[in-house]
Amino acid sequence: MSGAEFLLWMRGPGISFAALFFIAGVVLRLIEILMLGRTKNLAELRGSGSTAGMRTIATRFLPADANTFRRSLPTIVLGYLFHIGLFVVIFLLTPHIKLFQSVFHIGWPGLPTPVVDFFTVVALVSMLGLLWRRVSNRLLRFLSTGEDYLSWAVTFMPLLTGYLSYHHLLLPYSWMLGIHILSVALLLVIFPFTKLMHSFTLFIARYYNGAIAGEKGVQQ
């Protein structure tokens, strides 16, 4: 198989299959959660649960208070850098936007490629920092499972191979781009069955947390 053939296959059936698997998996996981529901609260409520739930979805993007921020400083800073970098790379790189456009028929303006390149490096470096903390910090090492390292690896690979292919490093471009798409396919397939699901479920979790508190009049 030549590099071009490999790339063609990955771009076609390879990524399509992975994307379908991803969508089916995510939908299944969301149904598993939402079907369980929550029983109606019979207590005399102080406030609207749904309003508070929606508010908590927004407020949890920021740390609860200054002391929480101080106590978990490296996790919070590296976490923000990684997530911002990842978001920029996925959604604001022009070739990615073109791909979304071809599938969903909606597009949006991208950032200049060198800017996205910078954010790729930010995401890669902060991910290395997060991994370093996971293995070196006593608390995080204790909490970490194989799934944490697997999730890290399948997220790191697309970033790394994307960076390498953009800079034409290590392998011929078509091979590296093919491998990049393969790594994305792997991420998509693994995604629904790991903690990566938090990208979707955190909205449900925050909503419930905020609603439970808001019904009691607890401000978050």
Binding site: L28, R29, E32, I33, L34, M35, L36, G37, R38, T39, N41, L42, A43, E44, R46, T56, I57, R60, P63, A64, D65, N67, T68, R71, S72, T75, I76, G79, N137, R138, L139, L140, F142, L143, S144, T145, D148, F193, K195, M197, H198, T201, L202, I204, A205, R206, Y207, Y208, N209, G210, I212, A213, K216, G217, V218, Q219, Q220
Partner: protein, 429 residues
């Protein structure tokens, strides 16, 4: 309690898994931030006290039975079932080192309400026979004697006589149609009777009709702390029956954190219907009286004081402003701790920890957080609004050779109460 067994425990734990629980477990990324919010972790540095880790058996059950991948793992024999040994091993982290304070639930970046899950996990622990002895004892006494400490009506009546002697006022029992029905914690009846005297004088001045039911005067609820909803419902049911029999408008829960949660928030859900009366914490009632001009005080405390927020009132109950409004009435030197209100640090003894002898050592270790908070403020008096917090604070202060008196907010207000002599009163001492 019925005879516990592993099967029962697992069945009950399974019933506890609802949409929120599934969303929370699905979202955890093992970031460790909940540990930094938990005083049992911050004061020991031991990662086993990480809040989300306390739920590992429940998480495994959820994964095994409520997720597609988990069911495949189970089918392949890769997800072993929960064992009795596992639950037994988890007892110290689920009970001894969690006060259900809810601080972890405030900081989790993905929004997990971990405390909500620990409350539920305890249902499975208790049903499988893995609740601590101390809590089983307290719960048994609550069911059989009506009080977790074994306090009887006669003790309360004796306190009422003391109130009569020192104030000339009657503590009204079983008065139908009263506006308020007051429930008390055993701790108050035995250790802090000044509370009963304080509310007697305050309600008299406010001109409010109130009463105590001889059939249900205990406000606390061991069923919630141990995690047996049937018992919790039985204990709530006694108060509901008494309140509806006396046709009161409002039941007032005492200076106690979890009693408020038990009656105000869990109560109607436990008995499966809304109440026909309102439930208010004493601080909410006093704040209302203040607003209506029915609570008048004179004089100011000059001591530097601070307020310890009972977790179940603020973070789990939404009562944040009333104690501050009330303290500012009688103090001109009230200072806040660095973390206060909904982000306060627990005293270390809530959620059944104080009734559990196995937790004695870790409970006093956890107090070090409060100690650090107090020392940085250099206050002369510590005010709180929970008899259980108060006893822990007093013990911790004693143990650490500090010299800070702990006062209940209601009695502090009563000490400044403006009293008008009236013709129908007996002799005032």
């Amino acid at each position: 309690m019925t005879q516990p067994s592993l099967e029962k425990g697992v069945n009950i734990l399974r019933e506890q898994i609802d949409g929120p629980v599934a969303a929370f477990f699905s979202s955890c990324v093992h970031c460790g931030m909940c540990a930094e919010a938990c005083l049992f972790y911050t004061e020991t540095g031991d990662p086993k006290y990480t809040p989300i880790h306390k739920l590992e058996p429940m998480r495994r059950l959820w994964e095994r039975e409520f997720t597609f991948a988990g069911r495949i793992k189970k089918w392949l024999g890769l997800a072993p079932p929960i064992s009795d040994e596992e639950l037994e091993q988890w007892q110290p982290v689920v009970y001894d080192s969690c006060t259900l304070c809810g601080r972890c639930s405030m900081v989790c970046p993905v929004g997990n309400d971990i405390t909500y899950m620990i409350r539920r996990m305890r249902e499975g622990m208790a049903a499988s026979g893995n609740a601590p002895q101390g809590l089983i004892g307290a719960t048994t006494r609550a069911v059989k004697l009506g009080s977790p400490m074994g306090v009887k009506l006669a003790t309360l009546e004796a306190q009422a006589r003391h109130v009569k002697i020192s104030t000339g006022l009657d503590v009204p029992f079983d008065e139908e149609g009263a506006e308020y029905m007051v429930v008390l914690s055993s701790m108050e009846v035995v250790n802090y009777p000044e509370y009963l005297e304080a509310i007697t004088r305050i309600f008299h001045e406010a001109g409010k009709r109130w009463t105590i039911s001889t059939e249900a005067f205990e406000a606390t609820n061991s069923g919630i702390q141990i995690g047996v909803s049937d018992i919790a419902a039985e204990l709530v049911g006694r108060i509901v029956a008494a309140a509806e029999k006396l046709q009161v408008k409002t039941v007032i829960t005492p200076e106690c954190g979890h009693a408020y949660t038990a009656l105000r928030w869990e109560g109607p859900n436990l008995i499966g219907r809304p109440f026909l009366f309102k439930v208010r914490h004493i601080l909410e009632v006093l704040d209302d009286l203040r607003e209506q001009g029915l609570l008048q005080t004179s004089g100011m405390e000059n001591d530097r004081i601070t307020f310890h927020d009972p977790c179940q009132l603020v973070r789990r109950g939404g009562v944040v402003d009333p104690p501050r409004n009330l303290l500012n009435m009688v103090s001109n030197n009230f200072v806040e701790m660095e973390d206060h209100g909904t982000m306060n640090w627990c005293c270390g003894a809530g959620g059944g920890v104080s009734a559990n002898e196995a937790a004695d050592e870790i409970r006093l270790k956890a107090f070090k957080r409060k100690k650090a908070q107090l020392e940085s403020l250099e206050v002369e008096t510590l005010v709180t609004a929970c008899a259980n917090c108060r006893i822990q604070l007093e013990e911790g202060i004693e143990e650490n050779e500090m010299e800070i008196p702990v006062v209940g907010i209601t009695e502090m207000l009563a000490a400044h109460l403006v009293e008008h002599p009236s013709s129908d009163e007996g002799e005032q001492p």
